[in-house]
Structure formats: C-alpha cells, structure tokens
C-alpha cells in the first residue's frame, strides 16, 4: 500500500500542534498485517489518512483480503 497524496503537507496535529512525520505504521485487516509509511503525529501517534487513500488503495486492499 503506497501513499500518494498531495494535500497532507499543510495538515498538523491539532492536539499537539506538531508537524506530521512520515513513519512506518502497522495496519491490519482480517488475516493481513502490513507496515506502511503514513503521516503521523510524533507525539500522540495519530495517523493521518486522507480520502483518496481510504477510498482508493485501502479499499482495494480490504476487498482483496476479504476475497482471500
């Protein structure tokens, strides 16, 4: 799962007022476990997922796993 988004640059964590950093993040669904580089708040660890990723690649992978 690769992240291809452009509009994340301006976003920051509202709670910690920190810039997001591209970090390896664990994601899981059903039997699947992966590590993906995603923008994340270095302090509270909130992970940022934008619409294009959620409805694009993520959905595709979800569907793929559901059909396994």
């Amino acid at each position: 799962m690769k992240h291809e988004s452009t509009d994340q640059t301006a976003w920051r964590c509202d709670k910690c007022q920190q810039e997001l950093e591209l970090t390896k993040v664990k994601v899981k669904y059903m039997e699947g476990n992966f590590e993906v580089d995603l923008p994340k708040c270095p302090s509270c660890h909130q992970v940022f997922i934008d619409e294009a990723l959620a409805l694009g690649k993520m959905k595709e992978v979800e569907e793929g796993l559901e059909d396994k």
Partner: protein, 782 residues
C-alpha cells in the same frame, strides 16, 4: 454445501445443450455458429466449420440429405432454415485451398478397409490421419461407390474426381477389382490388426454394437449401408467416422464405449420456445445456388435456439454474462479453493435472490436457492466479505434494539375508559374497537422495519384502523423480521431472530400476525410457517378502505409487485382491487405478479454492489411510461431515487399535504433510524399514553451539510450518529488534525469495525461538513 448436488443442478440446465438441428446432424455441424458466420457474410469462416466437422465436405455439402432441416424450430414459424442450400452457397463463396497437414508417424497398427464407397473412404482417411497403415480393398475398378450416382448439377464429375484423387494422393495401397468374401475376410482378419467392412451387402447376418460398430467383439468393425436402415449419405459418412474412432481405441486398447453417448444423431434435451418469434418465410433462391445476399438473409432467419429464459429476465445474470450452468461451475470452484482469491464473491453477492429465474425455468432451476445456499456456506466458512452486508446487519440490530423494538397488547378497556364518551364512542371506529376489547390478543400488527422508516406518520393511523376494523384485540410488535440476516446468509443470526419472534408470539398466546411488508411476508412464510398471517392489504379489501374520499386525479398506473410476494397471488389481487377502488386504471407490466422483477434492493445487492442495484432499478423503471405503484417501502425508495414517479399504496390510502407523493424523496439512512424511533415514541405516547423511557437521541452538534456531501454520506453508508460521535471525540479530546491554511479540521474515530473520518469547518456553533469517509482497515497507533 453439497457440491455434488450443486453440480447436478448445473447439469440439469439446458443452456449449453445443442439445438435440434445440430443434434440431428449425424456429424454435428455447429449450425448456430455456421449460420451466424454466413449472416455476417463470413463465408470463409463458415467453410472452416464445414471442413472441421464434415468428412468430404466438398461432396457431402452438395448431396447431404439434411436430417437437420425437418426438426428445425423455425419450421414452426415460417419454415425450416435451408441449411443444405446454405452449405452449397458456402462451398461456392467460402472455399479455400486445403492446408497441408503433416502426416503422423504410422505406428498405430494396420487396418484393412473393405469397400471404397463413402463410408469406407471416410474410415480410411480418418484412420490414415490417426496414424494407422490403411489398405483399401475395392471390388470395382474405381473409388467412390454409389457417390457416382449423385453426379449431376450439384455434385459435378469434376469435383468428385478431384476429391477421389485427393484420397489416392495419400498413398494408401488400394487393391481394385478385389472381391472380399467370407474366406477372404478371415484371411484379412488374420493379417491386419483390424478390419473395416463398408460394403453395400454381405453374405450373412452380422451382429454389431450400435454404439461402437464392432462386430462380435472381434477386430471387425462395420459401417455404411450395411448398418444404415436408410440410404442416407450423411449417416453413411458418420458411421465410417465413428467406426474409425472405435478402431483407433481398439488398437490403443482403451475402452470402446467411454463417453460416446452423443455421437451420431441424438435427441437434444433443449426445449426452445419459438412461440414469441414472428413467422418468417424462407428466402427463395433466384438461381441454383443462393447469392451471397440471399444466403445472408436466409441465415438471418435462424433464431439461434438456446435456452436463455432466465437470463433474459435477469439483469444480474446478464451483467455478469453468466448462464446458470457456468455460474454453478464458478460457485463450485469458489467453494473448493482453499488458498487463493475467491473471484466469484462479488457476483454471488450481486444476486437479488428474487426467484424470477426459477419462475422462468421450465426445469425449475432456482439460482436464487443455489446462491442463497452458497452465501450460507460462505458465512459458515468465514469467507463472506464483511463489508458486503455489514451495514444492513447493523440496521437490523438497530431495529431490534430498544430504540425501535416494542411489544404491546391493545390498550385495555380499563385504561381507555376516559375515551368512552359521546360523540367519540359513536364516531370513532378506533374507540369502538377499544370498547370491545377482551384482553386477549387475536392479532399482532407487525409493520416491519422499513415501512415505519419510510412512513412514520402512517403507522399509528394503520394501527387505529386495525383496532377499529378487525374482530378481536390488536397488539403491536415493532422490530425487524431478519430479512437482512437471511439475505446475507447469516443462519445463526436468523435463527436467533426467529426464536425471539416466536417467543413473543407464544407470550401473546399465538395471535395472527398482520404484515404490511413483502419481505416480512417472505421471511415469516419461510421460517415461521406455524404463525398465521394476514396481509394488511387483504384486510383493507375485506374491511373497506379507511378514508372514503381521496380520489385525486384518476390516472393509469403500472403495478410493480414486490419480489417477496411472487407466490402470493391473493395478495396481488388485493392490491389491484385497492388500486381500482381508489379510482386508478391499471396497465400490467410485462413482468408482473408471479413473474415480477426485483427493484434492486433484494438480496442486499443494494449494499453489496450498488452498480448492480442501479441496473435492476433502471431496467425496471424503463418498462413503462406510466407512474408505478408499489407496496414495499424499498421499491418506492429505489424507484424514486432512479427518477421514476412512483406511488406507494400508502401514498394513495393516506394522502398527505406535503407535496407530490410520487416524487417525494425518501428519508436518508439516518432519517430512517430516527423515523423508527419516532414511531415508537408516537405510539407509546399517543396510543398507550406512556412516557417513553428512551428519549430520542439528540444531535449534539449542529451540522451544515452541503448537498454533495449529503450524497456521499448516503453512498458510503455513514450515519449521522457516526458523524456526531467523531465530532464529539474531536471536540472534547482535541483528537483531530488541523489545516492552518484552510482552517479545516479532520478527525477520526473507530466505531466497532469501521473508522470514520470527518472533515469539517467550524463557524460559531455550526459544523460545516466538507467530507465524510470511512475504512475498515485498522491503523495501529503506537
């Protein structure tokens, strides 16, 4: 899932069975393809098909006695297709030089062929091609036998000589002027590995096997005029070819009989119904041979006999380009694979389980049942994609939670005392009904979950009507019958739900259920046959309509029957009686009553494959110019969303002031929840005069939702309570992202198995939604 039973069902489907013309052709020319090529003007391709199946196609194509023609289905609608004339035309316009074939090594064994006529030559050429060393014995001084009798306008001497020369060129030894008698035959049998006897007559009777053409289980095989009851040339050729197959098997020492049932002419199990086709007379030839145009026109008359009954009626089968036999093979594959992708899942979840296929199939093959069983098996094996039905199952849980579910007996006489005063007691049927109350619940009104969601204001009116009109006390039971669990293949959940309904029924001393939803009707009939049912619509017909004077502008309506009521013809009649009584004309749709189609909601296809659902909708609403009349809330919802003017029966029975009923937009998914809760509140307050324990969920945040975002929320099955929850968490815990450039916030919250995201802007106390989306994948935040 019983896969043997599944495959047996697939085998019963006659979709792939050959048409009667091909079945009656002893060499099984693929006539549909053949005619289709001609129709397109592709004479060469048609020629290729003749070459593939017909021995000596240049000869037989000109003299075949065409047993394919008489049984042609077209004979019942204008006249048989002139297949043999078309073969002649194809030889004329499509012939090309034969390709050089490289002979196989001759190591299969030695064969003597007695008789150089059509059957002998067919056997000889076939065996030579298969790698046998063939020797021909002919009693005259030339090859061809009775083929010479056919020389004339069609089969010229030139063509015949050419074809016989091609045989001679194969360099098989030919012994001319050699008569073979009994003694000589014994000699040949001792010399060769096998012998084919293709002479016109023989001195003594020979017993032969009609399947293999083998004589006396020996190395002797017979064919041609000896075995034919007629002088059909095509049967002769076919017998030579079939005997050659036997000889090859004999020489290879393999079974002579395995899978040969369909060699030669046979009766096809295909039933083709040509009654719907316009009669068309055969195209006449303007010369001895069809011109190309004439041939194309004649080929066009072929109706391409194939059973597609169910496929024609079903936009699901058409969308996936599946015939039931192929569909079943895919299911079989999907059920068997352990590792790897289950490609058929999406398809299996795109069937509406509407049952039209079974209704259309004269063999009663029910894809609905097959697919339903498959879904149950998928759930059992943990292979059902969670996302397919998740929303509908949650919706069902909602309806069976305290936010909607309710069971009450009719208000007792004692509790209603204060209503028994003049004039109420003489003019209100409802109050009269209460006055007659006995305390024993004879009926339980079960409106289901979708009707209260779509028509929240009518449930109380209907209830009051029932109390005032049916004999005996009427209680109420709000909840969901479990249709989503059934459609989703969730048997365990379904059973649980059924048990719960049964308990209420027992507690209420087994009342008759009054149903108003066609899905409930189907579910109760399927799972609760012990419960006596009545349909609300039947009661209206029996007891009279509630409002007497509501005939608006009389118009003609087309009735769309709900697919769950397919087998309920009494109900179909009741609905029509109500519509007629209300003063409307009725024009039946092509697919109506027991042959009705699904609106696109059935089988949860609406949730599992929206595109497929839309295809159901648009096909159905395209069937008629008239406004539609439906009696299921979901049918109405889908048709109106598809842009079709549609009335629900309740729109006509309980007309409302707020605008045009036929175009009124149906409530959103969230509003459906709210409406159900509201129905419960209204009933409790106004009928039972109780203060509801549960208060309606109040929205904490005031949302401003632009139309495009509203549509997204619906399409993505997101509820306003999900949005409220995300905002609550974001606002209270500051768990959100912000974009200083745009002033927007983005917040997420995982609820159950879904993470919801809301992008919004704040203005004073308003929350302006920019976008809403979700994913099921879990992000580990650490």
């Amino acid at each position: 899932m019983n896969l043997d039973k599944l495959l047996a069902t697939g085998d019963r489907c006659i979709h792939k069975e050959p048409p009667t013309c091909t079945a009656n052709c002893p060499v099984h020319l693929e006539i549909i393809d053949f005619l289709a090529e001609i129709e397109q003007g592709n004479f060469q391709n048609a020629y290729k098909l003749m070459e593939k199946k017909m021995p000596f196609h240049k000869i037989l194509g000109r003299i075949c006695d065409h047993p394919c023609e008489a049984p042609c289905e077209r004979s019942k609608a204008g006249g048989s297709i002139r297949i043999s004339d078309l073969e002649k035309a194809v030889l004329e316009y499509g012939a090309y030089k034969p390709k050089k074939v490289w002979p196989l090594p001759k190591n299969k064994g030695t064969v003597a062929v007695i008789g150089g006529g059509l059957s002998g030559l067919t056997a000889a050429v076939d065996l030579d091609k298969k790698g046998c060393v063939v020797t021909i014995y002919e009693k005259t001084n030339r090859l061809g036998g009775r083929l010479w009798d056919f020389v004339g306008d069609s089969l010229t001497e030139e063509v015949l000589l050419q074809e016989l020369k091609a045989v001679a060129d194969k360099k098989m030894p030919i012994h001319f002027e050699t008569t073979v008698d009994k003694n000589k035959l014994s000699e040949l049998l001792a010399t060769y590995d096998a012998v084919y006897l293709g002479t016109a007559a023989w001195e003594e009777e020979i017993k032969w096997n009609p399947l293999t053409f083998q004589a006396n289980e020996s190395a002797l095989f017979v064919g041609g005029s000896l075995v034919n009851q007629s002088d059909s040339v095509i049967f002769s050729a076919s017998s030579g070819r079939r005997a050659a197959i036997s000889i090859e098997r004999f020489l290879s020492k393999v079974s002579l009989t395995d899978s040969r049932e369909r060699e030669g002419a046979f009766e096809t199990p295909l039933h083709f119904d040509i009654s719907g086709k316009e009669p068309l007379a055969p195209i006449l030839k303007s010369a001895a041979i069809y011109s190309q145009d004439e041939a194309m026109a004649e080929a066009k008359r072929c109706v391409k006999c194939q059973c597609r009954k169910c496929i024609e009626g079903c936009v699901h089968l058409r969308k996936f380009e599946m015939s039931p036999d192929a569909y079943i093979r895919q299911i079989n594959h999907s059920e068997r694979i352990i590792l790897g992708t289950h490609y058929a899942n999406k398809m299996i979840n795109s069937c509406a389980e509407c049952g039209l296929c079974k209704e259309e199939c004269f063999l009663n093959i029910s894809m609905s049942d097959v697919i339903h069983e498959t879904r149950e098996s998928m759930v059992e094996r943990g292979k059902m994609p969670a996302s397919a039905h998740d929303f509908a199952l949650k919706d069902m849980a909602f309806s069976n939670s305290s936010r909607f579910s309710l069971v009450r007996k009719q208000p007792s006489k004692e509790e209603s005392k204060d209503l028994f005063y003049y004039p109420l007691i003489s003019f209100s049927d409802y109050v009269k009904g209460l006055y007659k109350g006995t305390g024993k619940t004879a009926y339980l009104f079960y409106p289901g979950c979708q009707l209260p969601a779509s028509y929240p204001d009518d449930i109380k009116s209907i209830y009051e009507y029932l109390v005032g009109h049916v004999q005996g006390d009427v209680g109420i039971y709000l909840g969901c019958c479990g249709a989503p669990a059934d459609w989703g293949g969730q048997q365990a959940l379904m059973q649980e739900n059924i048990e719960a309904i049964k308990r209420v029924w027992e507690e209420m001393e087994r009342p008759t259920f009054i149903l108003a939803c066609s899905s409930c009707m189907r579910i109760f009939e399927k799972y609760l046959p012990e419960i006596k049912l009545e349909s609300l619509w039947d009661i209206y017909v029996r007891e009279g309509l509630p409002n007497k004077d509501h005939i608006k502008t009389p118009q003609t309506l087309s009735i769309h029957d709900a697919c769950g009521t397919r087998e309920n013809s009494d109900l179909h009649e009741s609905v029509r009686k109500i519509v007629a009584k209300l003063g409307y004309g009725i024009e039946e749709l092509e697919y109506t009553k027991e042959k009705t189609k699904c609106c696109g909601y059935g089988g949860l296809v609406y949730y599992a494959n929206r595109e497929q659902s839309n295809a159901f909708v648009s096909e159905r609403i395209g069937e008629s110019e008239n406004d539609l009349l439906v009696y299921c809330a979901m049918c109405k919802d889908l048709f109106v969303s598809g842009g079709k003017r549609t009335y629900h029966l309740l729109d006509l029975i309980y007309p409302k002031a707020d605008g045009e009923a036929a175009t009124r937009k149906m409530p959103t998914l969230s509003e459906r929840h709210d409406n159900r809760s509201r129905v419960k509140q209204i009933l409790l307050k106004e009928i039972w005069r109780e203060e509801p324990e549960e208060t309606m969920m109040e929205d904490q945040f005031k949302l401003i939702i632009p139309d495009d975002v509203k549509q997204k929320i619906e399409d993505r099955y997101i509820l306003s309570e999900d949005i409220q929850a995300v905002l609550k968490n974001a606002e209270e815990n500051n768990e959100r992202f912000c974009n200083p450039e745009t002033g927007e916030y983005l917040a997420r919250l995982r609820r159950d198995n879904v993470t919801f995201w809301v992008k919004y802007e704040k203005e004073e106390n308003d929350y302006i939604l920019k976008s809403v989306y979700s994913h099921r994948m879990e992000i580990v935040e650490e």
